[in-house]
Symmetry: C2
Subunit: 299 residues, 2 copies
Amino acid sequence: MIKNFTQLVDQVKSSKNRRISVAVAQDADVLEALQRAKKANLADAVLVGDHKKISRIAQENRINIEKFELIDVKDEKKAVAVAIDLIRTGRADLLMKGLCSTAILMKAVLDKEKGLRQAGLLSHLGIFEIQSYPKLILMSDAGLNILPTLDEKLKIIENAVFVAKKLGISTPKVAMITAVEKINPIKMPATADAAVIAKMSERGQFHGFIVDGPLALDNAFSKKSCQIKGIRSEVGGVTDIAIVPNIEAGNIFYKLMSYLAGARTAGIIIGAKVPIVLTSRADSDETKFLSIATAAKIC
Amino acid sequence: MIKNFTQLVDQVKSSKNRRISVAVAQDADVLEALQRAKKANLADAVLVGDHKKISRIAQENRINIEKFELIDVKDEKKAVAVAIDLIRTGRADLLMKGLCSTAILMKAVLDKEKGLRQAGLLSHLGIFEIQSYPKLILMSDAGLNILPTLDEKLKIIENAVFVAKKLGISTPKVAMITAVEKINPIKMPATADAAVIAKMSERGQFHGFIVDGPLALDNAFSKKSCQIKGIRSEVGGVTDIAIVPNIEAGNIFYKLMSYLAGARTAGIIIGAKVPIVLTSRADSDETKFLSIATAAKIC
């Protein structure tokens, strides 16, 4: 079981090099992150984009891109299509967003014929390492699903569990996070969704993972808090995966961890045929690096 | 301007001693917190509750309650009523919940004739001190208002601004936190509420404070993040008060800060005639202490 990012990065380094297909690669931040990943022996890259612009940006920012394959496509939509095709044809293992709009990239990813769609749902997953907790924390969804329905929550859980397993967590413990641990179906519908999913877990409807909820955040991550509140839970205090009820809660969780709490943070899109790295320019260099490492680990 | 809890506690110590009216005081945790507050010269207390039980608990837990006034009322509802009456008649300055149910306490507080109601709304306010940010962070609402309407958000802001002013912040900067900084009225109504309130601020409809939004959490607390994303904002990066759109987001904010991020934390109920300290048993001793200190500071 991978307990922190140092272990994760080490494992990726010692395994087969993954190839990142970069859609519209003319972006200094992205090229820098790729250079760092390459130097660390984490992953290779195929840069799909405007050759001239990529070379100029690399030169201006003193980024060495010599070792990367380069496919010259000037048009944004075409470059996205080529980047995705590299994955469909097995020439790359994961996708990374460059200077294209997120909307165009996601539309192409979700295309039924030429995209990377699978049966499930796409979701954003945050992964955190923080001193106050003895293992990695996985959390979803901070960026894609705005107010997921019960059914969508099940798919979000499935996606997160898939990643947890890849990180060596044999039976991931999933907490449905709400504001309280009591069920209040009328005033707080998220508590009812949580109760339903927890009961499904109890009835043996899931295999290889356990869900409990509703749990407030303190119950999810502090055994002491569960004891004081008299909550008996297989998940309370030992949560691997936190599922939050809405995007505001998820986004605040993600950014509090990375901006205020000093957690080492990665963020990826999962649920497609391959993981997608879609870093924000405001992400730190470390977050970009760890996002690539995590995506490489799980593909 | 008070920049941290040490300053806050020092100011409270050096000012007139406040009297805490404790509703149903037969609770070991509450008595311990009061003893600590008394020792630190923060506040006095009037214990309203079952005299015998209070004495027994004090003895069992070696808590010195000799210096506290004691009013013997066995019945829960009656004790709550007496505790509130102490405030209405000027014999105490702030209210603290003991072993009574929150529902009974809040009902009595909100009673139109005998309660502590004012024109506004009651709201929960979290106050945080964290190393990564140079001043106190105020945040609302983590505990009372589930999914506030635009009008309720205005009242929540008003309450928080009242506290910020008491902490010496002359022009509090308020960030309406959402998951994104772009306005998306259909899919994310919280961004539209934020935009409306921000525009009200720009039009001069507020006095003595500034509001901007929608802002994602990174924009609110990191100037660098604003720069990278091209957000020009008087609030971005220097936020005093963060207003979140729903109770799940607020609760996660509050508990992430106190349980995982190691922030010094206080939580109080504001908007009534006096501040109300309503700590959870799972709160740390420090949180209980700082909550009393903050309540004493603002009454």
